[in-house]
Symmetry: D2
Subunit: 326 residues, 4 copies
């Protein structure tokens, strides 16, 4: 029997990717889609390549009081918008919030699915990690678990493709003519994802303060992909880092430990995360690297993985497509 | 029972895409892969995101006398290389040649799958159309079938992403620094795909000569995608063109008739072709447009579709993934 | 003594390029800049790489009644905006209108500078050609002058970078995430530049009707550059076309006749146009190709060339910089 | 009287940019060009947009015993090739080596022109800094001079466009299809530019050891541009960092201190460096950012600046062009 799925925010890039993954999922059936700008149009008007079975589904204006029967709801709304939007969703509808409002919030489970799958199983309110945290924390988790690095002294230099800025933009600073052949840092010392990362580092390390966290995002001229290059202090060897990661992720489907520095293109269109390490004990230095597709593991891919865990399905259901390369 | 599949030329972009599609196919099992530069390495070394079940498959040096038992073989070799390479493949192995050597050649069926599916069913030697012909002919077929345009007076202006040039290149003219922010025509009046297109136009129109065919390819700074903008002479209205296309492709899974000019990104990663039309009878003008992913419908996607037809499977098996967007 | 120059529309891409060229001009001095969104800010706030001598110039709100003493005014406004904006500019201020409102309009000279320099000299109101016409007409002019092609039967397939859409946009359809890895035609059978091209073809050919003109623009994922691939009917040989072009542009500084198909990158940042030809008399076919930088020869470069002609300066003053490559 | 200039390595991207800058220089005259693959062809065959006055200059095979009379020679050769190539150049020919062989080598002056102009004046053998060091050291110099950061504890995360890899490549890993939509780190813990940066940090700080230096380059899908994001330890405030930079570069032409995080596109085609800072004394953290065009300030631009200093010309001669934007 199929699981009835809805998506809010289907007009955006994250919502669109959720649509693609749900459409290819063996147990999910998309029965409801809500959007802002696109309300009233059919899915195929918005996504000319929408699967035939979904082509004529009409996108609704969001109204939590007039939902069809749903088992799972994916919410892909701008930060600040989902707290209100989801408040009145019936309790028996399971929610995965791809947006930023419910991370480490009372009543919600933080859905870092490759790290804490057991805690997510059977939950009904799961907050998907942000795209930067997904890349960063997946790389750091094994090092923190094995206490190979100092949790209070971590410098995260992340680089992201432009789809991470969302679709609403329409600002010329995200326009092709200006982003192409350009690269810049932004949000120095105050990016919105910092507290989420700091909080999770504390949980992963079991230690009190990640107050020394430094986090600098950069906008890169590409559509998809995130790379986190993470500079840590620790006396571990490269081999110890790899051993820790291989143990930590042994048997896990979506994290690949790569002996070469990872490329963002390796993950495009998939739910994979690639992690790698380089260390120099003489310099008290460990470099961790994490790569994800910001719309895959960084958004809709991890959301489907969380929904699988919630629903008691195999974790990989609907997520076993290989990346699109090149 | 699964169908045992092999791929030759797996190091290239077309071969890699075939691997991705075969891996996700419900009835195919990849049991053999051959490559040139990559022989001896495992699939996962070459494709870091290869599915777990294929990760350890070792890429072989091609030897047609030492094949495992195969039902279907996909060949993705440079033009000129497949005639020899495939000559000694056992007769009971069905072949789809993605390369250029067997198109409209005696003993081979021309695999324009959306147009001539019945002729392909049950065949054992199928020559996949070239990427430019796939985009061009899919758009033209309904117009030629309905005699809405003059078959001897067609100007094809095609634009392709860079992966169409293959991977062997390594020439700085395909290097990022020079292709980026650049655009140029090439192969004027003599591109290798011209005879294939001319021949197929003759078959589609049932008329003798497509000698007036003009075909100009352009290299565009993108990885995937082909757009053919085709200028024809005819007195049809726009509506007649759309009607012809909707009738011609009614019930067909992979060709979408779009009332808006098609975008290459609509097809990325999929086996879709998008066609559209604009006509001005007063000027004796019909413009046909066709879009494909050059590695999808233009290569591996259509090859899998042909293999489905050959094997008596549903035409859409393994090909129902939605395009990756954006 | 320097020539006092003003620019309206300096916030846009065309206006910005005019600023760059004026700044490097040996006889021009930028004394006035007006913009919409940027009014009130200094040039260096808008262009972090503005030359030191211009850095502190404050961008004004446009007011034609409160202009400083100006010799030349460049107007780079959206189509529809310059007719009004320029109506009250004092008669003794020479104007080059980069925008679309005054092309082939009474009282204005059409500034196709490489073709009709003598007619532009000493004029005070010059309408710069559009970017598509600049690429198209420069390639066609020698063929029309020598009557090598039929003026009433011309198919223009043009491809443009995204900066041609201007900066105001802010529409997600010009956003990086959607334009990147995408390509599409637009404005079929009705693009705004068609009448301008048709009119100029008539002038160049001395014949009445270019009613058969077909013009199809395409948006290409690059910031700068236009390529026009033009399909004509005629019995000329390739050699005759090249001869015509070499004669026509002999001694002219900015048009280069290339024996290889031209690349848009050859022109980036310069006022060059590159033209080339391929013909097949047996098929009654002549293909002409023209390449420009849409912000150079397609906008600000040609505008400065026109201003040089107006002011009696050497045509190449301030325009002799080589293209930026790669 | 003009200064007679030669360029070796004109086929490469750095040599080509040197050609462009020399061509636009008021006192330099290019009289000699040598190249490998391009020997025997004219400059215009290699650079279709070469200035008219240089178009017919024939590129020679390098032979230091058969040079014409030269005042200045620019060498833009791969690392490892210039030591030999330049050994027999006559002593009275001044050399700026853009390549890597003579940096901090006896008999050569290290040409960090914005920092040490006085030491470069009148020298005859100058080693141009590498492109990564140019971006990194320009940002760090004021902080080191004012002892605002610890010189032995610096993490440099640099991101570069693809032209930095040079043109010889032809490797598919620099091919468009693979670099586009991709991003990856490389050369971890052992990049060739590390010793040069460490050495210069020691000189700038007057302290013995930069042994704690961490340096990680990343390949970004763009043609030109370098951004260095540099994580330092120190108790300075953001304001102190900006004050230091404004004092250090006060009156200097090519370094701009930006209060916003710098974009690589701001520098494209120019000799500018943009630097910016963000500090948090509570976390003992100073972030320095430096942006250059890798072919401008990172190669040919700085080389011309060095040649100006050598020849006693104004430092900005031939370098006052504004960046090309967008």
């Amino acid at each position: 029997m199929s699981i009835r799925v809805g998506i809010i925010g289907i007009s955006g890039y994250g919502g669109g990717e959720a649509m693609r993954l749900v459409a290819g999922h063996p147990s999910f059936e998309l029965v409801y889609a809500a959007g802002e700008g696109s309300a009233g149009s059919r899915l195929v008007d918005r996504f000319p390549g929408a699967p035939a079975k979904l082509a004529d589904l009409v996108i609704e204006k969001w109204d939590p009081t007039a939902l069809p029967r749903l088992d799972v709801l994916f919410a892909s709304l701008p930060t600040g918008a989902s707290a209100d939007a989801l408040a009145r969703v019936p309790k028996d509808v399971k929610i995965v919030d791809i947006g930023g409002d419910h991370r480490w919030v009372e009543g919600w489970t933080y859905g870092l699915a490759d790290v804490w799958p057991a805690q997510i199983k059977g939950k009904t309110r799961v907050a998907n990690p942000g795209c930067f945290p997904a890349a960063t924390l997946t790389a750091l988790a094994p090092l923190l678990a094995d206490k190979l690095i100092e949790p209070g002294n971590i410098v995260v230099d992340v680089k992201t493709g432009v789809s991470g800025a969302g679709r609403g933009g329409g600002n010329s600073k995200f326009g092709y003519a200006e982003v192409n052949e350009d690269l810049a840092p932004y949000g120095l010392l105050k990016h919105a994802h910092m507290p989420e990362i700091a909080k999770t580092i504390e949980r992963l390390s079991g230690e009190g303060s990640a107050g020394g966290l430094v986090f600098t995002p950069h906008l890169v001229p590409m559509t998809r992909g995130i790379l986190a290059t993470i500079y840590c202090r620790g006396r571990a060897t490269t081999e110890q880092c790899f051993d820790a990661a291989k143990r930590f992720y042994g048997g896990r489907a979506f994290v690949r430990v790569s002996d070469k520095p990872p490329h963002t293109k390796w993950a495009t269109g998939s739910n994979f995360a690639f992690v790698s390490y380089a260390a120099d004990p003489d310099r008290n230095l460990v470099i961790a690297m994490g790569v994800v597709d910001n719309l895959g593991k960084g958004a809709a891919g991890q959301a489907v993985q969380n929904a699988n865990l919630i629903c008691g399905l195999p974790e990989t259901a609907g997520l076993d497509g290989a990346p699109v390369w090149p």
